[in-house]
Amino acid sequence: MTPMKWFYSFLRQYRWRMFFGMVLVTVLVAAALSSPYISKIIVDDVITGEKYDLLMPLIFVLIALVIVQGVCRVGSQMLFETSSQGVLFQMRDKVYRKLLREDFAFYNKNRTGDLMSRQTGDMDAIRHFIAYVIYIIYENVLYFILALVMIFRFNIWLALSMVIILPLAAATTYWQAKSVRPAFKKVREAFSSLNAFVQENISGNRVVKAFAKEEYEIEKFSVENDKYRNAELGAAKIWKRFVPIFELLSNMLNILLMLVGGVMVIGQQMTLGDLVAVNGYLWMLTSPLRMAGWWINDVQRFTTSVEKIYDTYLAEPDIKKPKNPVACKKLMGNITFRNVSYCAEGEDILQDINFEVKQGQTIGMIGTTGAGKSTVMNLLCRFFDVTEGEVLVDGINVKDLDMHDLRGNIGIAMQDVFLFSDTIEGNIAYGVPDCSFERVEKAAKMADADSFIQELPEGYDTIVGERGVGLSGGQKQRISLARALLKEPSILILDDTTSAVDMETESYIQKQLANINHTCTIFIIAYRISSIMNADQIFVLDRGKIIERGTHRELLEKNGYYATVYHHQFPKQ
């Protein structure tokens, strides 16, 4: 599908509305053309011809025509505006849904601000096109054609001499459209890049301040700000050549009429009255032509935006829903990794991982930074697909499951805690938005978050800032844990979830986890031995491989990596 076809797929459902809008515009044009005619009658017949009794009826007609025009104008604008808003609404929805489906690889490649531009600045060019450009072009083309038809009726030769302008106008249109397009593309790119820069500066404001890098940021900003201005100026540099050409072409019609018309009247090939009449219609030819250059800009801005949006929309996630997913709403939590390897961008991240976990077991994972622990979990949630081997849940390959079914059974508290700027209650209930407050409270209690939440002046209704600003690291982790627990999942993943909480809290949380009353397979990734030592199995990962496995006792006896870490963390007094 081409970008334009894609665009039309949205506009299609509004085609009748657009059509009706155009009908109104047509009526409007007719009314607008009749008004001067009425005025002419008033001047000729009423004032000059002294037919005073005609005045009132004619004035009523005049006012009626203006009302018709007003109604048509408002009506058509509404129709076009609602169509454009309708298209935009659906396009935003479609793009948003697509963004939600995109996989991690996509988000690693695209900057937040770039993606946002697709949904904001680019959408605006489309709005403008449907709401304004389409009807203004239609209205003017209508005037242009009507005027041409009338001039043809007056005098074919005069009309033909004017038609000479058309190929010139067409050629200019073509040249402008062609040469301005790459420039507008650059504008969109500069906009996007400016947006991305500003977005990051705002998100990273703490780092900027901590390093007192305000001036450096301003320098970098200036580059982006300049780039955007220069892109706009660069585009203007191109289109400013064409806009005067259209103006010149439009004025040439005046000259043509003056010259050809004058000569023809003198040569008695047409009457003076005809020339006067044609002169009266001339504005209908010249004003559309004069504005053409601007509309071409609008059209090109629109097409580049559609292309940009469509480009983003086209990106297909690698992680796809299987064609015939195994129907399975409730998973038990038996997990098998069979010869799993994962590599990304030339880097081996996991190699030959094998393990089997029975439902209800607790698994501890420990290992060096960047050893691949989180990746194991990401493969289980199918955020990435394995390069080799297979991941099975309840004996079913995760690739054969609907991702939503799979993830619906998993509760994960991520290492990198992300909270939304919403109430604490809203954050905890994120996975089950319409659940009761009791469930939220229960989950918070299990995560030992209830007590500190209660102490906040607005309790569960406290709005936390973006990324949980205002809460300490440990508090955020506990909210994120509560969020995972609330789902009552069959598989619970705690990825470094208690690293920023104190030991007492941690041991409380562990007790709560042990008391979960539904069967739940738990994975705990941690650096603290205390977090995982009660696990049924402990895996030690190093550079993408499981190098040790067993229970706490077995591993201590093995005297390997695990034992070393243990002795570091619990030095003999």
Binding site: V43, T48, L62, I63, Q69, G70, Q77, F89, Y96, R101, E102, Y107, N108, T112, M116, T120, G121, L194, E200, I202, S203, R206, V207, F211, A212, K213, N225, Y228, A236, W239, P244, I245, M258, L259, V263, L275, V276, I366, G367, T368, T369, G370, S374, Q415, S421, P457, I463, G465, L471, G473, G474, R478, K487, D496, V501, M503, S530, N534, T564, F570
Partner: protein, 597 residues
């Protein structure tokens, strides 16, 4: 102030006043010359172009009846010259207005951005980031055309209007007065709808801001959304916001739609009125100098009177929209900078590292004290560790040290200098802070580390990375230090991100180093190697460490146990153990856990 979130409109207290426009003029003023030049081009070409219909008239009235081909040729040549001149003017005008328009928004955006850099954490904490962003980018962008082209066009039209009014007065005073009768109605209409219109556009900009905020969060939080299978719910919220935006847009547009027809209606009524009055004068015997000829000529000018009014009204419409954005932009620029250099601030001299808190009270929100009367003293080169329950105020203490917030009362002193008396820049450049959240900028890993000191050589960057044990994993990545990472940084594990931001802090070569949970996601092995490297580096530097892993802090010169916004205990590891207080409890709980096995 309560925090704002994506589905809450931001209230704008300020009433509309002309000040916004006056301020805007300040932005236009520097471009006076260009604007005047552009105006000259517009007016001169507009003036000359008005002759074209007159030439046509001349041709039809004189040259054609006289069959004067030469006269016609002359007219054609002059007209052609005018057209060429007009085209040149248009070209020049575009060049000038586009550059002025772009310069204005460039400046406005720069002012806004620079001010944002000065705004404290609080400002960013109180609202979704997408709402700040929309001001810097989208709102500013919507102004460029109104402020250059729009203004000039309006000035040209005003000239036209004045010209025509004078001309009409010259023809007939009474009829002209009749004609002007329509204007008060138009003005009344404009004044009445202005209030609603302004409010409608404000609402629209709010809804736009909400939507932007939600998009930003959706993208940043995508992992959580997918993990929690929240796609459907989020789409619902998104569509709700999208719909609110659409409705607000439509509602605000209605007023604009009404403007054009209102002008036409009033103009037609006025014209009708003139016909009626004119005709009755003529019928009753040509009173007041109103003759058939005058009335006929006059009606020809009425439309020329209303055309500029129509375009001015359209400009007014877009101005109302622009002002609703301007208000938001100026509101941000006016946002007071709570943490700023004192008027007589001096440069912080090279820090030796003596730190003291002198009866410090602090609260984020009025009435809720986070720190209560905190006092302590640290000698240069000491390592201080803060422990205690989460949320007790440990991070707050170190944040005050960099003056990210102002204390409510009391003083924070470094080398006996009150930090509120020195410039923020000279203070913060000497502090190395490693925060709980390690933020990664999009760019290469090299750039991210170099953020701490942009003059550092590659070798220095690599050395810093080696010190924090980040070198090995960086080299494993396909492009080493040139590997591209981004904000969400999901290519890097949290621990790796911590190491990178650790290297960043080290590279800044700070006199005081603050590590806030800097190593929470780093494995013990790495941490040990790290500490060895660090202990060399920390020599002579005062450092503050917040950590939950006690092994990390046992060697500190002083451990402070923070709870309930104050220092409950302080001393060395041994002293505190002997004291058998809270630290002792914390420490032994590790052994209890161990003994259970």
């Amino acid at each position: 102030m309560a925090r704002n979130r994506y589905d809450v409109d931001e209230v704008l207290e300020e009433k509309f006043d002309i000040k916004q426009l006056k301020r805007m003029i300040q932005y236009i003023a520097p471009h006076k010359k260009k604007m005047l030049l552009a105006l000259f081009f517009m007016l001169s070409s507009a003036f000359l172009v008005t002759f074209i219909p007159k030439f046509m008239q001349l041709e039809m009235d004189r040259y054609i009846p006289e069959k004067d081909i030469r006269g016609i040729t002359g007219l054609v040549v002059v007209t052609a010259l005018i057209c060429v001149y007009a085209a040149i003017c248009t070209h020049a005008k575009i060049k000038l207005t586009v550059s002025v328009g772009q310069d204005i928004i460039h400046q406005l955006r720069e002012d806004l951005f620079c001010h944002l850099q000065e705004l404290p954490f609080q400002y960013y904490d109180e609202r979704p980031h997408g709402k700040i962003q929309v001001r810097v980018v989208n709102y500013v962008n919507s102004l460029s055309d109104v402020l250059s082209n729009g203004i000039l066009g309006t000035i040209t039209d005003l000239f036209n209007l004045i010209f025509i009014i004078i001309f009409m007065f010259g023809m007939n005073v009474r009829l002209t007065l009749f004609c002007l009768c329509g204007l008060p109605f138009l003005i009344l209409f404009v004044v009445v709808i202005k209030r609603y219109q302004r409010r409608a556009w404000q609402r629209q900009s709010n809804k736009q801001s909400n939507l932007n905020a939600y998009i930003a969060e959706s993208i940043n939080g995508i992992r959580v959304t997918q993990a929690f299978v929240r796609e459907r719910e989020n789409t619902k919220i998104f569509n709700y916001l999208s719909k609110s935006y659409r409705d607000a847009w439509m509602y605000a547009s209605y007023y604009g739609f009404a403007m054009g027809p209102a002008v036409s209606l009033i103009s037609t009524l006025t014209t009708a009125f003139i016909y009626v009055m004119g005709v009755s004068y003529i019928a009753n015997g040509a009173a007041n100098g109103i003759t058939v000829g005058v009335l006929t000529a006059f009606t020809a000018y009425i439309s020329r009177f209303w055309t500029p009014i129509n375009t001015i009204a359209a400009f007014y419409n877009s101005m109302v929209t622009a002002v609703s954005y301007l208000e938001r932009i100026f509101e941000t620029i006016d946002e007071p900078v709570a943490v700023r250099d004192a008027a007589d601030a001096v440069e912080m001299p090279k820090i030796k590292g003596m730190v003291s808190f002198d009866h410090v009270d602090f609260s984020y929100e009025d009435g809720i004290k986070v720190l209560k009367d905190v006092s302590f003293q640290v000698k240069p080169g000491e390592t201080i560790a803060f422990v205690g329950p989460t949320g007790a105020g440990k991070t707050t203490i170190v944040n005050l040290l960099s003056r990210f917030y102002n204390v409510d009362s009391g003083r924070v002193l470094i080398d006996d200098i009150d930090i509120s008396k020195v410039t923020l820049h000279s203070l913060r450049t000497q502090m190395g802070v490693m925060m709980q959240d390690s933020f990664i900028f999009s760019g290469t890993i090299m750039d991210n580390i170099r953020y701490g000191n942009k003059d550092a050589t590659d070798e220095e960057v690599i050395l810093a990375a080696k010190t924090v044990c980040a070198h090995d994993f960086i080299m494993q990545m396909e492009d080493g230090y040139q590997t591209q990472v981004n904000e969400r940084g999901s290519r890097l594990s949290v621990g790796q991100r911590q190491l990178i931001s650790f290297a960043r802090a080290l590279l800044a070569d700070p006199a005081i180093l603050i590590l806030d949970e800097a190593t929470s996601s780093i494995d013990t092995e790495t941490e040990l190697v790290l500490q060895e490297g660090l202990s060399r580096l920390l020599k002579g530097r005062t450092s503050f460490i917040i950590a939950h892993r006690l092994s990390t802090i046992q060697n500190a010169d002083c451990i402070m146990y923070i709870s309930d916004g104050g220092i409950a205990e302080a001393g060395t590891h041994e002293e505190l153990l002997k004291k058998k207080g809270k630290y002792y409890e914390l420490f032994t709980s590790q052994y209890q856990i161990e003994n259970k096995i």
